[in-house]
């Protein structure tokens, strides 16, 4: 896990996305190295969440490539065109990519422990015992070991989001996507979730984060990408982009929000 490794781990090349006639993503290029933490910033409607969701093909694209560790995600290239992968192969690819959602999306009919152990047992074929031992370790890590047998509805938003992070980690992902992980939380609960994310970053996890938390982006991310009207307005090392933005879109964004 060395983010000085020059070859990108995740590469997004010329991705376009339409919703009907609306051109949502207009040729996105982006690369993330192993161990790197990259924040995607931008106003709502700029396409940042859509971009994040193309990385594990939750969002089908119109054109372009998403390449993780050398293999095309979601599609197979034949004669210059991309065709959808069979469901089983796509599922196998997604198992390597964790995702944390704005609204947590915990499974309400399962306990916290079942939420975390379901996929490792079903997809990675772990034994129940191994999956539960791992889940307890992860719950310890996010500070919720005492909630293993609770149902999600009885947890606060911050606790639910920390369980969601533990659930993603249980699949031992090589990359985790965070889609506005603190936007649905009450202000006093934001800190506990960001704390867990900070810890993951310090452990060298590769993270791609859509967020409105500029201070967090400045403190934690190696690189920021500013989206504006479906394009990358500016991207580069965090300190450079945030303290001395070059493009007009970036200048307005950082001047109004900091």
């Amino acid at each position: 896990m060395n983010h000085n490794d020059p070859t990108p781990f995740l590469r997004i090349e010329g991705v376009h996305k339409f919703y009907g006639a609306d051109h949502i993503l207009r040729g996105i290029d982006l690369s993330v190295r192993r161990g790197e933490v990259v924040c995607i910033l931008g106003r709502s409607g700029s396409g940042k969440s859509t971009l994040l969701r193309t990385v594990n093909a939750l969002e089908p694209i119109t054109a372009g490539r998403v390449i993780l560790d050398g293999s095309l995600i979601g599609y197979i290239e034949k004669g210059g065109c991309l065709y959808h992968l069979p469901a089983e192969e796509l599922a196998r690819q997604r198992a390597r990519i964790g995702m944390v959602f704005q609204h947590f999306n915990l499974f309400p009919h399962m306990t916290v422990l079942e939420n975390i152990t379901m996929a490792p047992q079903l997809v990675l074929k772990q034994t129940r015992k191994a999956a539960e031992a791992q889940a307890m370790e992860l719950l310890e890590k996010v500070g919720l070991a005492d909630k293993a047998y609770a149902y999600p509805a009885s947890l606060s938003g911050g606790q639910q989001q920390r369980v969601a992070i533990a659930r993603a980690l249980a699949m031992r992902p090589e990359l985790i996507l965070f889609d506005e992980p603190t936007s649905a939380l009450d202000p006093e609960l934001v800190g506990e979730v960001l704390g867990v994310m900070r810890q993951l970053a310090s452990e060298g996890m590769t993270m791609l984060i859509v967020t409105h938390e500029l201070r967090f982006a400045r403190d934690v991310s190696h690189k920021v990408v500013l989206m504006h009207e479906g394009r990358v307005a500016e991207s580069g090392p965090t300190s450079k982009v945030m303290s001395a933005p070059r493009t007009p879109a970036a200048k307005t964004f950082f001047s109004t929000l900091t």
Binding site: L58, E88, R94, H103, F107, P108, H109, A119, A164, A168
Partner: protein, 321 residues
């Protein structure tokens, strides 16, 4: 708690709704008069009701009614899930086919459908399955040998039920937040596994109450198969009164058993709903809260007193007495 303390606390007495109490008393009176009249009217022939209540033909008819209900609901539910998945598939042909099925079976009388299946032999004397244009035949038999009254009754009930239940299943599936499927897929579950593990168990919460109503409705709808001699509870009751002319008492016998069976189903339905409500917050049983209301009030009053004892400084800060 004694009255002095209650006065000191300025305890609020629960409001009494006099209009509702009067209405309740009137209702009790009416029910009592009606009950008395039914019990004492000799033309109800309660002795005959008692005589036939456990008649072997009545009991065997009940078994057939239960069988028909269970099997028709199985056919109906399996068909309903298929129709709902077709409806939600996004493929225009599948969507239209599913809608057309529902339109047809909901739009024609159930009784007509049952009669149709019963007289299928008149329309198609033989049933065979083969490859058209070749001599290959997998199956060939006279219709009446394959589709007797029992099978016709099952088809008539089950295929109609599928149309109604498909709307229930569809509503259940659509009630599950799409984020649930996304979360499941992001964990590496295929769409079909996500459906089975994540969507359907949650859809059950929405599906079970109306589907329970469907089962109860089906139990009574099975009585329609008496038109094709289905040997069910009502058919057998009719067979008896056709000989004895004791029509009212035998219909009462049948109704008593229908009531018993639907009551059992209602209890089962409540149990099922509890089972699938795992993880969901649910309101307290109204009967329990009715009986607990007084105890709860006393608990609240005691809590106020205890709180005052524990935090004397926070009381009486505003105005001095």
């Amino acid at each position: 708690m004694d009255t002095d303390k209650m006065r000191e606390l300025a305890v609020v007495v629960p409001h009494k709704y006099w209009g509702r109490r009067v209405a309740a008393c009137l209702l009790i009176l009416i029910v009592a008069f009606a009950g008395y009249s039914v019990a004492t009217n000799p033309r109800f022939e309660w002795n005959v009701v008692g005589e036939y209540l456990f008649h072997p033909d009545i009991l065997s008819g009940m078994v057939v009614t239960i069988e028909l209900t269970v099997l028709a609901m199985v056919i109906g539910t399996v068909g309903a899930v298929m129709l709902a998945l077709m409806r939600l598939s996004g493929n225009p042909v599948l969507v239209i086919a599913s809608s057309a099925y529902t339109w047809f079976f909901r739009g024609t009388p159930q009784l007509v459908q049952i009669i149709f299946w019963g007289f299928l032999g008149a329309l198609y004397p033989r049933i065979f399955l083969g490859i058209p244009g070749t001599d290959i035949v997998f199956f060939d038999a006279p219709t009446n040998a394959v589709i007797g009254a029992y099978v016709a009754a099952l088809l008539g009930l089950g295929l109609n039920e599928a149309a109604y239940a498909s709307e229930i299943v569809r509503a259940g599936i659509q009630s599950v937040n799409p984020g649930q499927v996304e979360a499941a897929q992001s964990l590496g579950l295929t769409p079909s596994r996500a459906m089975v593990k994540i969507v359907l168990p949650q859809a059950m919460l929405v599906v079970v109450p109306p589907l329970g109503n469907e089962v109860i409705g089906m139990l009574k709808t099975t009585s329609l198969v008496s038109v094709i001699a289905g040997r069910d509870l009502l058919t057998n009751a009719q067979a008896i009164y056709n000989n004895t002319y004791q029509i009212i008492p035998l219909l009462i016998v049948a109704s008593i058993w229908y009531l018993v069976m639907t009551s059992v189903l209602s209890v089962l339905q409540v149990q099922l709903e509890r089972r699938f409500a795992k993880g969901a917050r649910r309101p307290e049983n109204p009967f329990v809260s009715l009986f607990r209301a007084g105890a709860l009030r006393r608990l609240q009053h005691r809590a106020i007193l205890n709180d005052r004892l524990a935090n004397p400084l926070s009381y009486g800060i505003g105005e001095a007495k």
